[in-house]
Amino acid sequence: MLVNEKIAIEHGLKSDEYKKICKLLKRIPNITELGIFSAMWNEHCSYKSSRIHLKKLHTKGKKVIQGPGENAGVIDIEDGDAIVFKIESHNHPSFIEPYQGAATGVGGIMRDVFTMGARPIANLNSIHFGSTQNKKTKNLLRGVVNGIGGYGNCMGVPTIAGQTSFDRSYNGNILVNAMTLGLVKKDKIFYSKATGLNKPVIYVGSKTGRDGIHGASMASASFDDKIEEKKPTVQVGDPFTEKLLLEACLELMYGDSIIAIQDMGAAGLTSSSIEMASKGNLGIEINLNKVPCRETKMTPYEIMLSESQERMLIVLESGKEEIAKKIFDKWNLDFAIIGKTTNTKNIELFFDNKQVANIPVNTLVENSPMYDRKWKKSKLPKKNKTNKTLFKSLKIKDTLKKILSSPNVCSKEWIWQQYDHTVMGDTIQKPGGDSGVVRIHKTDKAIAATVDSSANYCWAHPLTGGKQVVCETWRNLISVGAKPIAVTNCLNFGSPEKEENIGEFVECVQGISEACKYLDYPVVSGNVSFYNETKDIGIKPTPTIGGVGLIKDYKKMITMDFKEIENIVLVIGKTEGHIDQSLLSRIILNENNGPPPEVNLFNEKNNGMTLLNLIDKNFIKSAHDVSLGGIITAISKMCIKGNKGIQIKKPKFLINEIEYFFAEDQGRYLIEINPKDFKEVSKILDKNSVHYDEIGKIIDKEMIIDQKTKLTIDELKSYNTNWLKSYML
């Protein structure tokens, strides 16, 4: 087939991008070459609209072994151990085919982690659906949860934490972000940089089929009415093969056979081979007849663009072919020597003894387009003048009931009970807490991980929202007693071709970067998902942050359940009564405008570090950060989990009671301490200038707010746990 501009545009390339290709090649590409360019130059693989801004992220730190740019980030957790982790989106495929889309998202991120030599030890996910009234929501939720469970459970990796939200803005574009953490020895990390000439290039794993062709291009465009037609671009997952691939790769990595390894994710064989060659500044030659194929008569174009799952590309040390083959034979996986590294700095493909493509690697990578798109700055919205008399008409009990049973606050047990969260025998904090925690096998250390996003705050003011999400994950880690180390980010936005959307992106990134820098909490990996829009309607900006922290002695881990009657509860951080953009504002007052709560990075860091100090001294019996729904929502959850009540003191503040209980001011926590420690604790808090108030005392089975407002723990439980279960019936 002869290539022309029209065909290039059908491949998702722009007219000037096609002209650039012809100029770089000094000729017209053939169809296979065009396919390769379109796969490498789409937004998903090339980051052409985001690259320029991502450079501004704060990515350096003492604990960072590998920052962005590899299959995943790596951090040092001492004693020769390292944690490899990353989050990735699989939004577009999951909307088209929720089970397979979500399943292969989980499979893909696990491959990114074990490609680096790490055994996956924990999975997390952040999933976002349309309004609960939308007729598609229930099936999408069911499919996504089944898909995540289907893949992760079979792999035998515990799913330890997650986040689920519902918002109208996801009606036409759900978000499925999957995160994996792996454990590796610091001196056994594998990278994707190929080195050495004439080294064998090995293909291992599943056979190549016609599934997922152009998957990455599909993920680089908006949806329209014809999304059903895009089903064939969704890959099909096979977790069993991935489990075998994991064990086989780790077995091979035990020795010294591997020079470079790269999983075949988005854009399959194309991006994996090109990335290895590009990083090593080498050429690569592949005989496509040697690629194990599942279907007959596959063309070079199809082989190069297939996104069949569970495949890896390895550059081996010469002479190690037999050792490697034996391992893959043992695990019943395909093993084929398909090419070699060369000094041409070109990717050369052969098929039926003919050369079918010959492209300089740098044209695909360094010379890929990079856009500095025009973007629009957001203004901080004006504060709402909430009518305070309105508060008087609200009853705390009714309001709390509505909030506890609202879709974004209610218990997500229906979801996480379908994920195996205890396999591997090291899960010491299950889903439903502030962070999931797994022990480092056979040591006293544990790793805490959390994933969060706050689309409403980001939508109201992207800069503040970006900062806030980082701080929220920071607090989630502190609340379990973990020292935050680093984050991974998954940046979900609408079309970068719109000034508003790219503006939201730029300012969220700026906010993330500022917070990460201040907190010494660098970004080590991540991905960008643009074009989350359908028929011109985009999602709210949703940067998702996955935070990871270390607990040196796992016996000091903190949970949120109230522990003992007579203990006292303190609110850490100042409550100013910020109601705009809060859950109260949205679901009770029906008010969507106004600025998000302000983020004070000094207070965040100071409060967090002081709490870690108190935890280390064993003063804190339980802790929980205050987020959606304010203080009273956080207290309710601590009551429910601990099956204990609380006698709440009347707040001393001038602000209204409703504001006090439901405001979403940042940087706050609730902690439980023994009354005999109060003096010592308050001394430390005062010394560090941390604001605190005593809010109440733990009692048996009842939450008493004032003489008129009493709720039993069973009432709180039923508000919180029933909604999702009955919705999904």
Partner: protein
């Protein structure tokens, strides 16, 4: 005491079982599914997971693997065999224990703590256990035990029901049945009671920092019984 844990392709609780057995004093060996011969063992364990992806009926492919000939012979000559979760499914498919395991009643994977009642202590697995109700952990999609009425009568007559799902006081009722199993059956023996298949994972309950400690009680007791 020597134990062997069989690793099938797709097994994923093999390491956890190895950790548990070793912790309580077994000398454990990991055995590959493609081996012919079992090492000398006092106990063989078929671990949980998704053997061969469970793409056919769960456990059916594994029941035909090479090592299973030796496991079946070992069981028939009176050797102790225990199958947990996918291991239970393999035992059922190998016909070492009666019945079948269907998909969970609500068609969902379930991962949570459950209580089980130990009724029958006249066997090497539960003899001398000083608790009647244990807290174990389940994580499965196909644990809905089913058998014909004739089979049920036979296993009841032979005291082959090992454990029932129940509440913390030992009451078995529909509410405490997580997956729809007939009579709340969570585990059963063969006729001779040297083979035990059960859905719950005692190996996930061996540490107070994990889900609980009742697995420790089970393994310690088992080791003492075998000694």
């Amino acid at each position: 005491m020597k134990s062997s844990v069989i690793t099938f392709p797709g097994s994923n609780c093999d390491r956890d079982m190895d950790v548990a057995l070793t912790k309580f004093g077994f000398k454990n060996k990991m055995i590959w599914h493609n081996d012919q011969e079992l090492p000398k063992s006092d106990l063989i364990v078929l671990p949980g997971g998704f053997s061969y992806g469970d793409y056919l009926r769960c456990g059916s492919m594994a029941s035909k693997s090479k090592i299973m000939h030796s496991v079946i012979n070992f069981a028939k000559s009176g050797g102790l065999v225990m199958g947990i979760c996918n291991g239970f499914q393999i035992l059922v498919e190998s016909k070492l224990v009666p019945g079948v395991l269907l998909r969970n009643k609500y068609l969902q994977f379930i991962c949570k703590n459950v209580h089980v009642k130990v009724d029958n202590k006249e066997n090497i697995f539960f003899k001398n256990l000083d608790k009647k109700v244990l807290e174990f952990h389940i994580a499965h999609n196909e644990g809905n035990y089913f058998c014909t009425n004739d089979q049920l009568k036979e296993i009841e007559d032979n005291n082959q029901i090992a454990i029932y799902y129940c509440d913390q006081n030992g009451n078995t009722n529909d509410q405490m049945n997580p997956n729809g199993s007939i009579k709340n059956i969570a585990g059963i023996f063969n006729k001779e009671k040297n083979v035990l298949g059960m859905m719950p994972h005692p190996e996930r309950m061996i540490d107070e920092s994990l889900s609980g400690e009742d697995g420790s009680i089970f393994f310690k007791n088992l080791l003492n019984n075998i000694k």
